[in-house]
């Protein structure tokens, strides 16, 4: 933008229109400057003003000419076609094109600021030791390593250096308002960077923060919001008098309805309404919708908090030193309570009030209920639940992130080496517990790491895990051979060709797997990455993010190498010695167990249509009205979209399995 000084006549015009300046000399304007568009403005410091030609539309259908009106402005630069109106004090900002700031008390950068970058939040452990430095490129994976790998001192030190370097690059004495953003009807705004097309409307107090909006996924901050020391990433909405203190708000997050959060990090697609979060590591898709719901000092992801959910991190001994972990996909029922420390395995449901410290990480897909003061674990039950299956299918559809740069890596897979690996181990542990309890047939329970498991359920739950394992192994084998059967359609293939198709490109996945808050990865790949960071082979955050992405992109291959290893172990033969009978057995197991599992899930769904589900329907009528009312509101079981989907899945698997068996028979 080419700028010039004001002419004498322009200065006179401005003065006549109620403007003043400490020094008119310090004001530069665009070659096409129109003094008509500046009225009742008091200037100080260095000022530059672009073209003022367009009109800006306001809510309600009116328009306002771009320009500067009724404001006190210090040390700011303005891009073309901005509209600044009724701002009591605007200082030290570089303001992009098409920006609207209207009816704002103060919008000021006071001294140097990193705009929320580098804020240390005391996450997970209230007594400290896991503090997270937040910044506007933070992903759930980097946060996970930084917060949870404190046992690796050199990793933490290097990560800290990387983050500090980045934070340093964000420090400035000038704030930015990105192109097209609107800041309206707000009170105190201090030390902020606001990205393109963000809308801030009615905020009460925003201080020390970055609102990292982008053109394709703007941020909205609504009425009554108070936020201090924060980062908010693209696509997020903070509304309805919510209070945010020392928080990281990732991409596509919605916080509203007076939610309050402090010292917490919310990653992609989290939702927080009504309740409270303190010291929470909320991984992707952590959702708390209800009043009186507290999340405290916990690690969550793909989590749904029932109303009144609560935890304690304090035993009135050495202070609030306890933390809890609910692995991916957990749910807590209404008024459930846990006393930390606790660790709950993936996709489990916690119901009732629990006063013991337990670790159920060996048993995914479990129910943890309470009976007369003891915590009762029923392993594998959630595998048969219609709810778990629905959840896993709705998450991908609910990814709100529209930015081209998605920071959190998310693998949505429901069955994968991380969950299925736990099932394999869980199944073995249950059989061990069963064998150990053979002589104790009068015992109702066996105990395991703080929970009680019904002795009678040990074997049956082990079988359910086994069912899940067979479904996964078969579907992976099918995926691997599908390409081959398409390629060789109609032709006979040899066993050698099949084995070639089954040979993995690498063996990266042959180990335990972990969930890095969205990224499902082989633990050995993560260890290698951690070593590379600790040894300074990975130099900065960009390289670290790229390496995390590489691990994610290798998922399919690593998953297959894990499956193949498990198949080899179970069959007792190496790939070289696989026969078509071996493969047919796996495919048959896949088909039978998928149908069986789907039938059990359908049974679970059917409960939603039985007589007790109809209680309260047909309120003033008899049996006929009850059924008619129920069908009018809920529809029929047969017509339920999800039930149909499950039936379709069974049919598809059956067809695919038959086709594959045909190919294998012809070998």
């Amino acid at each position: 933008m080419s700028l010039r000084k004001l002419t004498e006549s322009e200065i006179k015009d401005l003065e006549r229109q109620g403007c003043s300046s400490e020094s008119w000399e310090s004001i530069s304007v665009s070659a096409y400057f129109n003094p008509e568009r500046i009225r009742s403005v008091s200037f100080s410091g260095r000022i530059s003003i672009g073209r003022l030609e367009k009109r800006i539309s306001l809510p309600g259908g009116t328009e306002k000419p771009c320009g500067l009106y009724n404001s006190m402005i210090h040390n700011c630069s303005f891009g073309d076609n901005i509209c600044i109106s009724s701002v009591n004090y605007l200082a030290n900002y570089d303001i992009g094109e098409d920006v609207l700031v209207d009816n704002v008390d103060s919008l000021v950068v006071d001294g140097k600021s990193a705009f929320g970058n580098g804020t240390e939040i005391d996450i997970l452990n209230e007594a400290g030791g896991r503090s997270l430095k937040i910044f506007d490129r933070l992903s759930s994976q980097i946060a996970y390593l930084y917060v949870l790998y404190r046992h690796n001192e050199s990793l933490i030190k290097t990560l800290e250096t990387m983050i500090d370097q980045y934070v340093k690059s964000r420090i400035s004495a000038r704030g930015l308002l990105g192109r097209g953003c609107s800041i309206l009807n707000s009170s105190v705004l201090r030390n902020l960077v606001v990205g393109p097309y963000a809308i801030v409307n009615g905020a009460l107090h925003l201080e020390d923060g970055t609102i990292d909006s982008c053109t394709e996924d703007p941020i909205f901050i609504g009425e009554g919001v108070i936020a201090r020391h924060f980062i908010i990433l693209s696509g997020s909405k903070i509304m309805d008098s919510s209070i945010i203190e020392s928080c990281f708000i990732g991409q596509g997050v919605t916080i509203g309805k007076q939610y309050s959060a402090e010292n917490s990090a919310f990653f992609a697609n989290c939702e927080g309404f009504h309740g409270e979060a303190a010291l929470v590591f909320a991984g992707p898709y952590t959702v708390s919708h209800h009043k009186s719901t507290l999340m405290i000092a916990g690690l969550f992801s793909f989590y749904n908090a029932g109303s009144g959910t609560n935890q304690s991190n304090h035993m009135y001994k050495l202070g609030p030193v306890h933390q809890g972990i609910l692995e991916r996909g957990c749910k807590t029922g209404s008024y459930s309570y846990m006393i930390w420390p606790c660790r709950v395995g993936p996709f489990s449901a916690v119901i009732g009030k629990h006063g013991s410290n337990f670790d159920t990480s060996d048993f995914p897909f479990s129910y943890i209920t309470e009976k007369e003061g003891i915590s009762v674990l029923t392993p594998a039950m959630n595998l048969l639940s219609v709810g778990s299956r629905r959840d896993s299918e709705k998450w991908p559809a609910r990814d709100r992130r529209k930015s081209a740069r998605k920071l959190d890596i998310i693998n949505f897979g429901y069955l994968n080496p991380y969950t299925v690996g736990r099932m394999v181990n869980g199944s073995e542990k249950l059989l061990d517990l069963h064998a150990a309890a053979l002589e104790a047939k009068t015992k109702e329970f066996v105990t395991y790491k703080g929970v009680h498991i019904r002795r009678l359920m040990l074997k049956i739950c082990s079988r359910y895990y086994e069912m899940g394992v067979k479904v996964f192994l078969g579907s992976c084998l099918h995926a691997r051979l599908d390409k081959l059967s398409n390629r060789e359609a109609g032709r006979r293939v040899s066993m050698e060709v099949v084995k070639e198709a089954l040979a993995p490109n690498n063996r990266e996945g042959v180990c335990d797997w972990v969930d890095l808050c969205g990224l499902i990865a082989p633990s050995e790949s993560v260890e290698k990455l951690v070593d590379a960071v600790a040894d300074a082979k990975i130099k900065d955050l960009d390289e670290l993010s790229a390496e995390l992405k590489r691990i994610h992109e290798n998922y399919d291959e690593a998953e297959w190498s894990w499956c193949l290893n498990l198949l080899e172990t179970r069959l007792g033969v190496k790939l070289e010695d696989f026969t078509s009978q071996h493969l047919s057995g796996i495919v048959t197991d896949w088909k039978q167990n998928t149908i069986k599992l789907n039938n059990l899930i359908k049974e679970d769904a059917l409960k939603e249509y039985n007589a007790s589900a109809m209680i309260g329907y047909g309120i003033d009528g008899g049996e006929t009205e009850r059924e008619k009312d129920f069908i009018a509101v809920r529809g029929t079981y047969e017509d339920n979209r999800f039930v149909k989907q499950i039936e379709e899945d069974s049919k598809n698997v059956e067809e695919k399995a038959e086709a594959l068996l045909g190919l294998l028979d012809a070998l």
Partner: protein, 85 residues
């Protein structure tokens, strides 16, 4: 094994798992509506029948037995099949 014996043992198991008096358990009693079994207890019953008779049952088929008499028939059938084999 005689069907009457199967029935007597099944009733004993049901009484133990659901904490009921044996007298309350009739042949026609529905596990859910009459005996108050929830889904978890239904599975526990399957496991208890397996233990009692030293058999293995397909859970989805076993769970389709809604009444005591259906459960008796189901178990008796498995026992008869096992005997043949």
């Amino acid at each position: 094994m005689e069907k009457a014996e199967v029935e007597a043992r099944i009733k004993k198991v049901i009484a133990r798992v659901l904490a009921l008096d044996e007298d309350e358990i009739t042949q026609e009693a529905n596990f859910i509506f009459d005996l108050g079994a929830d889904s978890m207890q239904s599975l526990e019953l399957v496991a208890a029948f397996e233990e009692e008779f030293d058999i293995e049952m397909e859970e989805d088929e076993a769970l389709s037995a809604q009444t005591v008499s259906e459960a008796v028939d189901f178990v008796a059938k498995i026992l008869a099949k096992a005997k043949k084999e």
